[in-house]
């Protein structure tokens, strides 16, 4: 069983580059629809707890907008 | 057409066939314009050089080989070209150098500023030389003065600088390109290979002190001649003026806006706008000072052209100063406020020495 993980996305840091979506093998991140203050639409973590806490998304995120937690 | 592109187009029309430059904001559009359009002309050469230093020396070479040549940059890049400019002046090579000034010193910022006046007019490079410096204030002048720059460079075999700033470079105004004059220059110095005749050389090194002195005085005589013949300025609304703003380039535009406001308030304010910064229109300013006794110098710097105004007026009129350095372009409204506060009382006392630079604005001295 894959370890359980969780990510926290800082909406105001995210710049909608979608590199994290590309990086996440679990498909746990998806494009967002709402604009943030800067005019970007930050990505969102999918519901359903697919996240393994592998941190690949964080490793790719240029804005350090993602924090990764794991049990 | 953007100001930067206007310069590029005017240069190409004036017959510029060699451009070397290195990217720097706020003049990149000029470099890019040349990349796109100069290479399409017959024999036109565009080189993005490895540095500003390489660029100025490339145009020295191209100019020696007979091509009308140009380079452009902005403040820090122009500092790097100083050795090359001094060398071109020494070798009496024509060439046009565009400086789209930005806020300084150091990396500063990329906003419109006028902090390079001293460097441009006093020879930022070493040795006794001067560079003709033209300061356009409209899109049309960007075109006209660029063409003139090439003609002056040829006529006097000397580097000529176009001194403007990011605002002039970015601004778009309708422009009519005039037909360029046919190129006239003494071809004698141009290197084309010796053929069957005598070989020649171009150099700035003259080891013998007496010979070098002779060369220095030869240059000095040329600069004297230029000072007598090539001053340019615009005098605006000065006939009935009680006070005249002295400003060039972008600052002069702001001043014109301010003058409109001031006149509508009933204050008789005019403008003296040097177009050639070197040679400075000393005579013209002095003549103006025969009936105007109150001047305010306005620069987007902490005060550099001020020296030339003081040298010209020699205490015959009051001189105030207002400066906004660092990339701030004050609005006409702000300038008109300052000027109105300084507007002379009747029979105001003429103070021959500028004891303090009078500066207004949020951070004044």
């Amino acid at each position: 069983m894959a370890p359980k993980g969780m990510i926290v996305i800082d909406r105001n840091l995210c710049k909608e580059c979608h590199l994290c979506i590309q990086a996440c093998k679990q498909g746990n991140i998806r494009p967002g629809k709402e604009f943030n203050q800067k005019g970007y639409r930050p990505v969102e973590s999918a519901e359903g707890g697919k996240c393994t806490g592998c941190a690949l998304c964080g490793i790719m995120c240029p804005e350090v907008a993602i924090e990764v937690y794991r049990d | 057409m953007q100001g930067n592109c206007v310069i590029g187009e005017a240069a190409i029309r004036a017959g510029c066939r060699f451009y070397a430059g290195y990217p720097i904001t706020p003049q990149n559009e000029l470099t890019e314009y040349m990349a796109e359009h100069l290479r399409k002309t017959d024999g036109g050469v565009f080189i993005q050089s490895e540095s500003e230093i390489a660029a100025i020396n490339m145009i020295a070479g191209a100019s020696a080989a007979g091509a009308r040549s140009m380079t452009s940059s902005s403040s820090p890049g122009i500092s790097l070209k100083q050795e090359g400019i001094s060398s071109m002046a020494a070798c009496e090579l024509p060439g046009v150098i565009v400086n789209m000034m930005r806020g300084g010193p150091g990396l500063g910022n990329i906003r419109p500023s006028q902090g390079d006046y001293f460097q441009a007019t006093r020879g930022g490079g070493h040795g006794d030389y001067r560079t003709i410096v033209l300061a356009p204030a409209t899109g049309q002048e960007l075109a006209d003065l660029t063409m003139d720059a090439f003609d002056l460079a040829d006529k006097y075999r000397t580097p000529v600088m176009i001194l403007a700033d990011g605002m002039m470079g970015q601004m778009m105004e309708p422009v009519v390109f005039r037909k360029p004059k046919p190129r006239q220059y003494p071809e004698c110095y141009v290197l084309k290979g010796a053929g069957n005749g005598k070989s020649k050389f171009i150099r700035g090194l003259i080891l013998d002190a007496i010979e070098m002195e002779e060369h220095n005085w030869k240059l000095a005589r040329k600069y004297n001649l230029i000072s007598q013949k090539e001053t340019r300025c615009e005098i605006h609304e000065a006939k009935d003026a009680e006070m005249v703003i002295v400003a060039y380039g972008t600052a002069a535009r702001v001043a014109k806006g301010a003058i409109r406001r001031l006149r509508s308030m009933g204050l008789k304010v005019g403008l003296f706008r040097p177009i050639s910064l070197w040679p400075f229109p000393t005579r013209e300013l002095r003549e103006l000072s025969e009936h105007i006794k109150h001047f305010i110098v306005f620069e987007m710097s902490t005060g550099q052209m001020l020296d030339d105004v003081r040298l010209a007026l020699q205490g015959f009129a009051n001189i105030d100063f207002f400066g906004r350095p660092g990339g701030v372009v004050p609005t006409p409204a702000e300038l008109s406020n300052v000027v109105s506060r300084r507007y002379p009382q009747k029979d105001a006392y003429v103070d021959r020495f500028l004891r303090f630079k009078v500066v207004e604005g949020p951070f004044g001295p």
Binding site: G39 | I110, M167, K256, G257, R260
Partner: protein, 186 residues
């Protein structure tokens, strides 16, 4: 006549294009014009703005200390520029993104949901053109035909965009404000 307008928003909203097309149209109309994009080339992803001055005489200063008109396409621009607007000036705001409304009472403002309207006419990237329709409806600086012709020239020179969809977007904006009265700050 001497009119100054500031267009402002963030990079990618086509703010500079709005200003440029207006300047171009005004030039075609015969005005003296200056177009001054704001300086930000060394920084990307920030705000973008430009100033258009037009008038019957040579433009003394291309800067607008107190613009007559202000078009803001995102919230930060509203905060930055609203206080600069001249007394009695007109402000156009992109209601699709901006929730806030101006606080000044001595101006008129129009809220245009231009993103939604652009999507409606089937050209989601033309929110700026919608706004230009709205802008020219209320300011009447130049006639719509002249403007649209300019727009076509500009676009044509860049890429073959559907002139038709731009025209539709413009019309939508133009008609949207036809019967609307501007608000004032609260």
């Amino acid at each position: 006549m001497n009119v100054k307008t500031i267009f402002s928003g963030f990079g990618g909203q086509g703010v500079l294009m709005m200003g440029y097309s207006l300047a171009h149209g005004a030039m075609m109309h015969g005005f003296h014009v200056t177009y001054l994009p704001a300086y930000g080339a060394e920084m990307r992803g920030g705000t973008a703005n430009c100033t258009i001055s037009l008038g019957d005489e040579e433009i003394a200063s291309p800067i607008a200390s107190e613009p007559d008109y202000l078009v803001v396409m995102n919230a930060p621009s509203l905060y930055t520029f609203q206080n600069r607007l001249a007394k009695g000036g007109i402000l156009f705001l992109n209601a699709s993104i901006i929730e806030a409304r101006p606080t000044r009472k001595d101006i008129t403002f129009y809220a245009v949901p231009c993103a939604e309207m652009a999507e409606e006419v089937g050209n989601p990237r033309a929110a700026n053109v919608v706004m230009m329709g709205a802008f020219l409806q209320k300011t009447g600086i130049i006639r719509p035909e002249i403007y649209l012709k300019s727009l076509e020239t500009i676009m044509g020179s860049k890429k073959k965009t559907m002139p038709e969809s731009n025209r539709k977007a413009f019309d939508a904006g133009f008609r949207f404000l036809e019967s609307v009265n501007g608000g004032t700050g609260r």
